[in-house]
């Protein structure tokens, strides 16, 4: 046998509060009651009112707001700090019931909310309202001053809500544990309980939100830091648990060609670059280079500084040849300078988020990010920086942030987790040597790009910023003047070697030339001798021939008979020649 739930499964209405709808997987339970509890100044009223305002604006749903604690005018006036335009909404979509009982009201016996609910019913029908808030129910309960009556009236409200189908939010102030016990049953009665807290941790105010109960629905039960921004309350929840964002192979210049080379082509678009280093190590200058290069490419850039005013940044960077003023004028660059005002990190990141959505930059500089992370007031706040950087990554914004630290192993880097979220980490340190201080730049890591492992010297001058090689000599890294001296020495030595080589070459060339000359003499001599030999051979050869010929000629002239020799007649000539030759001697 199948058991079917008599109630349809829980559907939800979005509150429009950033982060809350994600935590609860959709918002508040529709046509059910949600209890929002917390101490004074936690943002209960803001939470409730914001839900109504968002309902009116986004979903065109009308709402009722029953104010027990403050009078309606006061609430509307207080809400003016948010960009909600309540007065306009009040005319059409939002009805405030002033249930605030002035101290002059005399209580004489038991009362109930039958009348109030009748009024609300009339108003709800008239406006076709979908949402309702009972703000500060504790005030009413205190007035009832009777546990039995309290419960009766609360159940009356709940039943009325169920009957009308309105989605209800009841806010309740809680103080000590006594109050908790007194109104404890309220938590059992409702379908969803949201707890807001405002505590002071290490002297820092910290607001948080926690969903304690949600009937018929899963929810994230963690304590989430919340911030109050111009748009209202927002959760800085941990964001999507799955890290998912588009990546690109596109590279963009750091503004320093040599550094681009060290990174084998510059920063990755949409990556997060951390520049760490001690004060004065030119972190801001590297930021300025990046910003100027970005603007040059025509990319909107936001420069957030917690150190200096905008004018000062522009002036200082001009001294090293970086010009930001034209980009500022064209609107390409926005410089936002602030002190880390309140200690609440969430507020800071909230403000930055608002800036980002207003300026819509492709490149962002935060100088220094450690100004924010140093003030971590609560464990959950430690995530704030990371969440913000995750958000920027999702938006595809390339971020350069700086961190003030002397070494690579300071707690700061690990505490904020910036070092792990950074895709590229450049560290600039001072190297003090021979009475001077020089800047050494190294790339600690760079995800997805090859990079140089070499320490380089960063030099600043009126002509600009440059990166030069450093020398290692006698086990020491040479920078600054030492490097210059070394370079001079190197050059002199090189020159000396050059001259010596040249001399040697000349000497060798001379020796070679001499040898060649000698060879020429010998060759000529050989030729002369050969000629002599030839002459000699010619002389002797013709002499003997002459003898033979002469003899024959003489014989012929004397008409002498031919010598006849015994033997073959063919050999007579050669024999005669033989004899002839012999005959000469």
């Amino acid at each position: 046998m199948k058991i079917q739930s008599p109630y349809p499964s829980v559907t939800k209405i979005p509150t429009g509060i950033r982060g809350f709808d994600e935590v609860t997987d959709g918002g508040l339970p529709r046509s059910r009651t949600t209890l929002v509890m917390g101490g004074p100044g936690c943002g209960k009223t803001v939470f409730a009112l914001q839900t109504l305002v968002n309902g009116a604006i986004r979903d065109k749903e009308a709402s009722l707001f029953v104010a027990f604690e403050e009078d309606a005018h006061q609430i509307i006036a207080n809400a003016a700090t948010f960009g909600w335009d309540l007065p306009a909404l009040v005319k059409k979509k939002l009805f405030f019931l002033d249930a605030h009982l002035s101290p002059e009201v005399v209580k004489a016996g038991e009362f109930d909310l039958v009348g109030m609910l009748a009024v609300l019913q009339a108003k709800a029908d008239q406006l076709q309202a979908k949402r309702i808030v009972f703000d500060g129910i504790d005030v009413l309960l205190t007035l009832l001053d009777d546990p039995v009556a309290e419960r009766r009236e609360l159940y009356r409200i709940r039943d009325w809500l169920a009957q009308t189908g309105l989605t209800g939010i009841i806010t309740q102030k809680v103080g000590g544990s006594e109050a908790d016990q007194r109104y404890g049953f309220l938590q059992f009665m409702v379908d969803c309980v949201v707890i807001l807290q405002h505590q002071v941790v290490d002297g820092s105010a910290f607001r948080s939100l926690r969903v304690k109960k949600f009937r018929g629905s899963g929810f994230a039960g963690d304590e989430f830091p919340i911030t109050l921004t111009k748009e209202g309350l927002q959760l800085t929840n941990r964001g999507p648990t799955e890290l998912q964002y588009d990546v690109t192979d596109e590279r963009i210049s750091s503004g320093l060609p040599r550094l681009d080379n060290m990174l084998r082509g510059g920063y990755h678009r949409g990556s997060n670059v951390l520049i760490s280093g001690a004060p004065g190590t030119a972190k801001s200058t590297l930021c300025g280079l990046f910003a100027a290069a970005a603007c040059q490419r025509g990319e909107r850039t936001l420069y957030v500084s917690f150190d200096e005013g905008a004018a000062q940044i522009v002036r200082n960077l001009r001294s090293v040849g970086i010009r930001l003023a034209p980009h500022q004028k064209s609107g390409m660059l926005k410089i936002y300078s602030t002190r880390t005002r309140g200690p609440n990190v969430e507020d800071q990141f909230g403000a930055l988020r608002a800036l980002v959505s207003a300026h819509r930059p492709r490149c962002l500089v935060i100088d220094p990010l450690s100004a924010l992370s140093a003030k971590v007031a609560h464990l959950a706040s430690a995530d704030a920086a990371q969440q913000f950087l995750d958000y920027l990554k999702k938006e595809g914004i390339t971020v350069i942030n700086t961190s003030l630290m002397d070494g690579l192993n300071t707690d700061e880097a690990t505490a904020t987790g910036i070092s792990t979220i950074a895709d590229t980490w450049i560290h600039v340190s001072y190297i003090v040597q021979d009475g001077e201080r020089n800047r050494a730049l190294t790339i600690v890591k760079s995800r997805g790009t090859g990079h140089s492992n070499q320490v380089r010297e960063l030099t600043l001058s009126g002509e600009g910023v440059s990166i030069t090689d450093v020398f290692i000599a006698q086990g020491k890294v040479l920078m600054g003047v030492a490097r210059w001296e070394w370079e001079q020495g190197e050059q002199a030595a090189k020159k000396r070697t050059q001259v010596a080589t040249d001399l040697k070459r000349l000497q060798l060339q001379l020796a070679q030339a001499e040898a060649v000359a000698r060879l020429q003499v010998v060759q000529t001599e050989i030729e002369a001798r050969s000629a002599e030999i030839a002459v000699l051979a010619l002389a002797t050869g013709s002499a003997s021939k002459l003898l033979v010929t002469d003899r024959a000629v003489l014989r012929k002239m004397r008409h002498a008979d031919e010598e006849v020799r015994v033997g073959k007649p063919a050999s007579a000539k050669s024999a005669a020649a033989k004899n002839g030759v012999t005959g000469v001697h």
């Binding site: 009982l101 039958v114 009348g115 009748a118």
Partner: protein, 96 residues
């Protein structure tokens, strides 16, 4: 609920009730009793059923029931509850 008898006396009261809710019924009874006992010389008591005229209650700033308003003499006084605490009611109605 009808209108209470009119009189030239300065005391003008309006009692908001919610139908026949127990508190409302006892408030009507209590109000009438107190008036009869202490303001017999002259008073005006109007009883309004909020379930019938919710918007009227709204205009009068009445949210809980029962609520007794002293409209005259001024300033307007507001007493909430079923008026079982006659002493409190009298203090409120008599005060200036």
């Amino acid at each position: 609920m009808g209108k209470a008898k009119t009189s030239k006396a300065g005391l003008v009261l309006r009692l908001y009730v919610a139908g026949s809710a127990p508190n409302s019924l006892s408030a009507i009874a209590n109000a009438k009793a107190i008036c009869a006992e202490h303001f017999s010389s002259g008073h005006e008591l109007e009883i309004v059923d909020l379930l019938e005229y919710p918007l009227r209650a709204l205009a009068d700033g009445v949210v809980v029931t029962p609520t007794l308003l002293r409209l005259s003499p001024l300033p307007v006084r507001k007493v909430i509850g079923n008026l079982s605490d006659a002493k409190q009611v009298l203090l409120a109605l008599a005060g200036k």
